[in-house]
Amino acid sequence: MNTSTRVITMEILRYRPEQDKEPFYQQYQVPFTDDMSVLQGLQYIKDELDGSLSFRWYCSLAICGSCGMMIGGVPNLCCQTFLRNFYPNVLRVEALAHFPIERDLVIVMDDFMAKLESIKPYIIPDKPRALSEGEYLQTPAQLDLYEQFSSCINCLLCYAACPQYGLNSKFIGPGAMALVHRYNLDSRDSGKDQRMPLVHSEEGVFNCTAVGYCSEVCPKKVDPANAVNINKTESAKDYFLRFVAPKGGAQ
């Protein structure tokens, strides 16, 4: 490891709504060592160079999902990305793509929060269960079905990677769909019928054109593209099977 201090140029997309008409790039000279993340670079700027810079962060361990941004044009968590990988080039850091910028690197995530709520991201049991009945039992095979999709940390990198979401933000999007899939696959859950109307809808899975970049950038290997595309099949089956076996309430 190189322990010497070098200086990298970080070019940050700034936006201060009270004084800027639109975002602009501002460069900072940031001394760094090989063990410094992009997040630490931003913290250096805020502490030493320009206290007005705004960005979200929390755990620095790629667990909380707060610090997603475009790093060198690619959606990533700035806490798990190292400055050394970009030196000696200018490192461009921008707010996550496809979301409105609230200020500097902070995005407005209201749209995702509403979507997250709309998919009922919790276990909906078949019938209320008394404490005396004990815990739910689940086999390792049942867990394996959904475990990967339960790793989502809501960091929104997949939305920043999804051009279809960028072009039409009504699309429910990869992250929320991965969570729909996660709960639908859970043996303890019976809420699939409540979630699927959204999957079939205009805002649902068929906005996806299988670009696949969402799964490439996912820091937790959730593979949201897989969840979306499996549900295209589910949605198509639902559409065609209703003619064969009509069910109550079919639309």
Partner: protein, 132 residues
């Protein structure tokens, strides 16, 4: 009054900004070549139904240098489309279990490509045999 003024960036030229998106647009673009070949097949079948003279005129057109160049271009586009299609295929499938183990993405892609290659060779062999 709120000082909030969220700024939404335009999407102009989005696919040129990332090599992944450029590749995506190219592989989606090759679908047009697949559609073009489907049209050629459709025309062939229609002309075959129109009798021997029409069919022979079509055959003569098919072996013209221009047509052969078009077919070589179509073949290249097909190969690229096939390659990228099978690469994305594992992302579209539910887990496939063999002896309790998940089949890996790489195995799904390789199997798809192998089946395509074998099927193509069989069709080619049949066509070759009929032609000779």
């Amino acid at each position: 009054m709120s000082a909030r003024r969220p700024y939404l960036r335009p999407m102009d030229g989005w696919w040129r900004k990332n090599p992944f998106f450029v590749e995506y647009m190219v592989h989606e673009g090759t679908a047009l070549f697949v559609a073009l070949y489907a049209l050629i097949l459709l025309v062939s079948v229609t002309l075959l139904a129109n009798g021997e003279a029409a069919w022979n005129r079509w055959l003569a057109f098919l072996i013209s240098p221009l047509c052969i160049v078009i077919h070589v271009v179509l073949l290249m586009a097909f190969l690229y489309h096939t390659w990228t299609w099978f690469n994305i295929m594992p992302r579209t499938l539910p887990p496939i279990l063999v002896k309790g183990e998940r089949v890996s993405a790489a195995t799904i892609t390789r199997t798809g490509l192998a089946v395509t290659a074998v099927a193509s060779l069989i069709v080619f062999a049949i066509a070759w045999r009929i032609a000779s």
